[in-house]
C-alpha cells in the first residue's frame, strides 16, 4: 500500500471517515505519521474553539475580578481559584461523571457526555480562569496616565473601555497570553485519557501515538512524530500571535515594542 493510499484511508480517520479498522500489524512509519496527524485535527479543534470562547469569557472574568461590586469580585475570584487550583485532569474526570449523572435527570445533558462538547466546556472554563488571571494582572498595570488622559478627552463608559483600557490591557497581557494559548493546545492531549471515551477509536494525536506505542512496543517512533507535530503547531501559534502582537504595539516606537518570547511552561 502506498503512502498516498494510506493518506486517503486514514487522513480523516479521527473524524470517522475512511477506513474503519485501525492498522494492526506491520505498522509503517507512513501510517503512524498519517494517523497521528489525523488525530491532530482534534487537538486543533479543541484548542481553537477554547481559545476563542475562552478569550471572551476571560475578559469578563478579569473585569469581574476588578469590579467594584463585591459579588462579581468574589464570584470571579472563586472561579479562578477553582480552575487554577485543581488539576485539569481531575476537572475532566469530574465533569465527565457530572454530565453522566445529569443525563438521568436531564436528557439534554447527554450531549456533554461526548468529548467534542463536554471536554470543550471544561477546556473553555479552564483557559478562561488562567487567562482571566493574566488579563486581570494586565488590567491592574494599565498606566494611570492613560486613563487620566482618556478622562481628560471626555471618554466615558463603554467607549473608554473599548478604545483605551481594553487595547492597553491586551497589549500588556499578550506575551503571557501567547504562552497560555500554547499550553492550552498542549493540554488538549489530556482529553481522551480522562474519562471521555474515544468513540470508535476516534481520538486525538496522543491517543493514536499511545495506540502505536502499545501495539509496536516501541515508543521511539510515535512519540517523536507527535513531538514534531506539536513543535510545528507551537511555531504556528507563535507566528499568529506575533502578528496580533505587532498590531497591538504598532503605535509604539520601534525600541519599546515587546517581543514575544516563549517562556518556561505553565502546565496545569
Amino acid at each position: 500500500m502506498s503512502c498516498w493510499e494510506t493518506l486517503a484511508d486514514y487522513g480523516l480517520r479521527s473524524l470517522g471517515y475512511g477506513e474503519r479498522l485501525l492498522p494492526r500489524d506491520e505498522l509503517t512509519i507512513c501510517q503512524q505519521v498519517v494517523l497521528i496527524g489525523s488525530g491532530m485535527l482534534w487537538n486543533i479543534y479543541f484548542g481553537v474553539l477554547s481559545v476563542i470562547v475562552g478569550f471572551m469569557l476571560a475578559t469578563a472574568v478579569a473585569l469581574g475580578k476588578a469590579s467594584q461590586s463585591a459579588l462579581w469580585r468574589k464570584l470571579s475570584e472563586w472561579f479562578i481559584f477553582l480552575f487554577r487550583g485543581s488539576p485539569l485532569f481531575i476537572q475532566f474526570f469530574f465533569a465527565y461523571f457530572l454530565f453522566l449523572s445529569l443525563k438521568s435527570s436531564f436528557p439534554a445533558a447527554s450531549v456533554f457526555t461526548s468529548a467534542w462538547s463536554g471536554a470543550l466546556v471544561v477546556l473553555i472554563l479552564n483557559t478562561a480562569a488562567y487567562s482571566g488571571e493574566i488579563f486581570y494582572g494586565a488590567l491592574m498595570s494599565v498606566p494611570k496616565g492613560d486613563i487620566e488622559a482618556a478622562d481628560a478627552y471626555g471618554f466615558k463608559g463603554w467607549s473608554k473601555f473599548r478604545k483605551i483600557t481594553w487595547p492597553t490591557m491586551l497589549r500588556l497581557a499578550w506575551p503571557a497570553y501567547t504562552n497560555e494559548a500554547i499550553f492550552l493546545f498542549h493540554a488538549t492531549t489530556l482529553v481522551f485519557f480522562s474519562g471521555f471515551p474515544a468513540r470508535q477509536q476516534q481520538g486525538d494525536a496522543l491517543y493514536y501515538a499511545s495506540y502505536f506505542a502499545d501495539k509496536t512496543f516501541n515508543p521511539f517512533i510515535p512519540y517523536p512524530i507527535l513531538a514534531g507535530y506539536f513543535i510545528l503547531l507551537t511555531l504556528i501559534i507563535i507566528t499568529l500571535f506575533g502578528i496580533v502582537n505587532r498590531r497591538l504595539n504598532r503605535h509604539l516606537p520601534q525600541n519599546d515594542r515587546p517581543r514575544l518570547k516563549l517562556k518556561p511552561r505553565l502546565l496545569r
Binding site: 474526570f93 449523572s101 485519557f193 501515538a209 501495539k215 515508543p219 518556561p264 511552561r265
Partner: protein, 290 residues
C-alpha cells in the same frame, strides 16, 4: 458493628462504608501521591541543578546537552513525555541488563512488534513478588517525573543564575577566586532568591501533575476513585450503591484545592522571609513598610 451493613442507619452505614479495606487502599494511595512529591521534588531539583550547570559549562558538548535538556520543556506536551519515558526507561533498563547478563544471546531484541530480552534481564524478574512489580512501577514513575520536572527546574535555575548581578562574579574573579570557587561560593548562595518564585510555581505545577501517575500505571487516587465509585450491585459487595464516581472525583477536586491553597500560603510566607533584608525591590518595600 459493620457485620451486616444492610441493617445500619445512614450515618453508621457511611462510616462503615468509608472504612472498608478498599477505602483504606484509597487512603494509602494518598500516601503514594505524597511520597511521590517528597521524592520527586528534591530529585527534580538535583536534575535541574545539573541541567542548569551544564548549560553554563565551558565544555561545548556538555553545554549543548544542558541547553537541549532545558529545551525539551518547550513545544511538546509534557504528558507525551510521561507516556514516552515510562516505556523508554523500562526498555532502556532491560536493554542494558540484557547486554550485561546475556552477551551470547543470538536473536535481535526488537523482532517486529516485540521487544524480547533474555529471561534473566527482565525487569523485575518474572518470579518476583507483586510488591516488587509495584515498587518498580512507582520507581519508574518517580524517575519520569524527575526527568520532566528536572527540565522545568533547570529552566528556572538557569534563569536565576543569570539574574545574579554580574558585578558579583567579576568581584570574585578580581579577588582571585577560581571559576569553581566563584560558582560555589558566590553564584549558588545568591541565586536562590531569584529562583524561589519560579520554583514555587513549579511546586504548584508538580502537585497538579500528580494525578498523571494514573496514566503511568500506578494505583493512585485516580485509580481508586474510579474503582470504588463505579456502581456496585448487592451481589458483589455488602455496600451496594449507584454510580458515585462523580462524588469521588469531587472529593479529589477538593483535596487538590486545599493542597494547592495551603502550599500557596506557605510559599508566600517563605518568600516574605527570604526577601527580608535583601537588596531587591521586595526587600526595600518590606523595609519601608516596617
Amino acid at each position: 458493628m459493620c457485620t451486616d451493613p444492610s441493617q445500619l442507619d445512614q450515618f453508621s452505614w457511611l462510616a462503615c462504608y468509608l472504612t472498608t479495606p478498599k477505602h483504606m487502599a484509597l487512603y494509602w494511595s494518598v500516601g503514594t501521591v505524597l511520597s511521590l512529591l517528597a521524592i520527586t521534588a528534591p530529585a527534580a531539583l538535583l536534575f535541574g541543578f545539573g541541567g542548569a550547570t551544564s548549560a553554563r559549562s565551558r565544555i561545548t558538548p556538555l553545554r549543548w546537552f544542558g541547553k537541549g535538556y532545558i529545551a525539551i520543556v518547550r513545544g511538546v506536551p509534557d504528558i507525551a513525555f510521561f507516556l514516552f519515558f515510562v516505556i523508554a526507561l523500562d526498555q532502556g533498563f532491560e536493554w542494558i541488563r540484557h547486554q550485561v547478563k546475556c552477551p551470547d544471546w543470538p536473536d535481535p531484541i526488537r523482532q517486529g512488534n516485540d521487544f524480547i530480552v533474555c529471561a534473566a534481564a527482565k525487569m523485575p524478574l518474572g518470579t518476583a513478588p507483586q510488591w516488587v512489580h509495584e515498587t518498580y512501577g512507582f520507581f519508574l514513575a518517580v524517575l519520569t517525573f524527575a526527568i520532566v520536572f528536572g527540565a522545568f527546574a533547570a529552566n528556572v535555575l538557569y534563569g536565576a543564575m543569570r539574574s545574579v548581578p554580574h558585578a558579583q562574579l567579576e568581584t570574585a574573579a578580581a579577588y582571585g577566586m577560581t571559576p569553581r570557587q566563584t560558582f560555589w561560593r558566590i553564584l549558588v548562595p545568591q541565586m536562590w532568591v531569584y529562583a524561589l518564585p519560579g520554583l514555587g510555581n513549579l511546586w504548584m505545577v508538580l502537585i497538579k501533575a500528580t494525578p498523571l501517575l494514573f496514566l503511568l500505571g500506578v494505583e493512585d487516587i485516580v485509580y481508586w476513585a474510579r474503582e470504588l465509585g463505579g456502581a456496585k450491585t448487592a451481589r458483589f459487595t455488602d455496600y451496594p450503591h449507584a454510580d458515585w464516581r462523580m462524588w469521588y472525583f469531587f472529593g479529589l477536586l477538593v483535596f487538590y484545592l486545599l493542597f494547592t491553597r495551603v502550599s500557596e500560603v506557605v510559599l508566600d510566607r517563605l518568600m516574605k522571609r527570604l526577601t527580608h533584608g535583601q537588596a531587591t525591590v521586595g526587600g526595600e518595600a518590606q523595609r519601608k513598610a516596617a
